[in-house]
């Protein structure tokens, strides 16, 4: 345990000294701020359009008006969550790759392995160090998100909102550790360093971008701008009744989406933050009950990735000569 902690401490020190890490985190923080600013500006535009509509109604003497758009503070974070699921995963891969690559490049790996250290000390220390780093990053991004919602979004935050945000932060941490551990294992297994990075990137492309995109493309309601059922003026109960007869197709589509760990993270965070209308303003107990399978699969995927990193990062794989 001692040598594991020493490796973790060294990892933290290296990342604190390097500019790369600061650039990545700065980029994520700026992207989150921009997404909150864009979402709140979009909401203000909707509100202005609604006020204009109400004023026009009043001028024409009508008293019937549609419900005003409501601001739900945590909904402003949708873009930030999406940045984390796409770019956060990408940056987690790069940091995971970098942590093994630097030791191989500098030759410090051979020095470390010449010492009497445990079988899992190196991999354990690296993953532990990066997990602590991601915990700090998620904490910082959570704080940035809260401040952005209050100051840029001008939205009131309550205690329950903070609790929801902290739960979403916990899932974000698991998600980032998953990608980092996967990259550590793949880089350790590859004889050419860039191979590990590129294979991890191909997996990232497949599971973060391509599979969810295919699932989205196959959604019948996404085939027409504004939605197929809205275009054909079909009511929601009729829509559900029609779609029930195409359950096999929808099952394949949903199965594709469910095969991506990114979708599990997205469904969890969208539910707890109330971004998905179905769960907006619902009690936490109801969300835990509905989202438990996703929470279990995300946790299991992260554990599997950590175990993979530990098993793949052996003396033999680390010391293989580059082909």
């Amino acid at each position: 345990m001692n040598s594991t902690w020493i490796v973790a401490e060294k990892e933290l020190l290296d990342l604190r000294r390097g500019r790369l890490f600061a650039i990545l985190i700065g980029f994520l923080a700026v992207a989150t701020l921009i997404s909150v600013a864009a979402a709140s500006a979009d909401f203000r535009n909707q509100l202005d359009a609604y006020n204009l509509y109400v004023a026009n109604l009043a001028t024409s003497g009508s008293t019937v008006a549609a419900a005003a758009p409501q601001l739900f503070p945590l909904k402003l974070l949708r873009g930030g969550v999406e940045y984390l699921e796409i770019l956060g995963a990408l940056f987690a891969i790069v940091l995971g790759y970098g942590t093994i690559a630097k030791e191989k490049h500098r030759g410090t790996l051979h020095l470390f392995l010449s010492r009497p250290v445990g079988r899992f000390a190196f991999a354990g220390g690296k993953v532990l160090g990066l997990s602590i780093v991601w915990l700090g990053v998620v904490a910082a991004l959570t704080a940035v998100s809260l401040v952005a919602v209050v100051t840029i979004g001008h939205a009131p935050i309550q205690g329950i909102d903070v609790a929801r945000l902290l739960i979403a932060g916990g899932f974000a941490w698991l998600y980032l550790v998953f990608w980092t551990a996967l990259a550590v294992g793949l880089t350790a297994l590859s004889t050419r360093l860039s191979t590990g990075l590129i294979v991890a990137l191909v997996i990232w492309l497949a599971f973060v971008l391509i599979i969810p995109q295919i699932g989205d493309t196959m959604d019948p309601d996404n085939q027409v701008p504004g939605g197929l059922f809205a275009t054909l003026q079909i009511q929601k109960p009729d829509e559900l009744a029609v779609l029930a007869q195409f359950s096999a197709f929808d099952g394949i589509r949903n199965g594709l989406e469910a095969s991506s760990v990114t979708k599990h993270f997205e469904r969890l965070t969208f539910a707890f933050l109330g971004i998905k209308d179905q769960y907006n303003q619902q009690p936490l107990s109801l969300m835990w009950a509905a989202m438990l399978p996703y929470a279990i699969t995300l946790t299991a995927a992260t554990l599997a990735a950590v175990v993979f990193a530990a098993l793949a990062t052996t003396r033999r794989t680390l010391q293989r000569k580059q082909s």
Partner: protein
Amino acid sequence: MNTILTSARHEILCTLRARVALLLLVVFLGMVSLSSLIGWITNTTVTRVYEKILADGLTTAPNPFAAVSALYYSRNSVIYVVLIGALMAIILGVQATLRDRKSATADLVLSRPVNTVQRLIGQFLGLGAVIAAVLAASTVISGASISIIMGAPLGLDPSVRLIGFAALSWALMMIFALLGMLTGLYSRKETTALLVPFVIWSAIAFVLPQIGTAARPVALLNPVPALASPGRGSFDLIGAVTGPFTITEQFKRAASIVLRDDSVTGSPWLSILLLVAVLIAMTWIVVVTPRRTLRSGLNE
């Protein structure tokens, strides 16, 4: 001229030997092949959904898919160029310029009477040939898939449009290949050389369009572009400023018009001109790289 051809030939050879680069090419070609199939399955299902709605008497509206173009089935290829194609081009570009620096063969090559501009143009052309070959293969696959789906060979107009789409894709991918070449030349670490263009790609593909249109990152994975539309308050002004820099959205716009996607209207020429201008600017920035930069070593 000899330097250019030799460098180009060497670049093609190195790219073909790199198994990982080939893996990315296979992924790209595989996805382009799949996109027609996915489009066909979805269109067939949605048509059945519409027929069910019609049979139940829930609508009298005409089938919105009755008159879709044959090229509708390849619309997803647009997003695969932006996602897979651009990242593949970045990796090829980084490897092209970083290779000599990593193995210190840059010193040996530049000890010969070699003009650096010709050397870099040669590498650029080599990469361009590889990417053009991949796009040619993907165009043939798309054309064949659509012909099978439609039960008839593609006509002249759709074929020309598919070739036009491939040309646009080449321009976009070469911009990102040049970006990779640039960071491969200037970065001190391999990790930075790969990471910096990824960050720039992320900013161009996700952050800039969001600033100008309020489109969410995941919504930008849609093949339909998220260009600024008038009457959206502050987004009008910001969109006008950021629009020319969002080259991925400009590409999506031009490609959607070329592929006759009805949801995008107007002329594609402004978007095409912007892409060509960025390509020329990037080429110039890369080829004027000083000799000492090509010879600089790596820190890791």
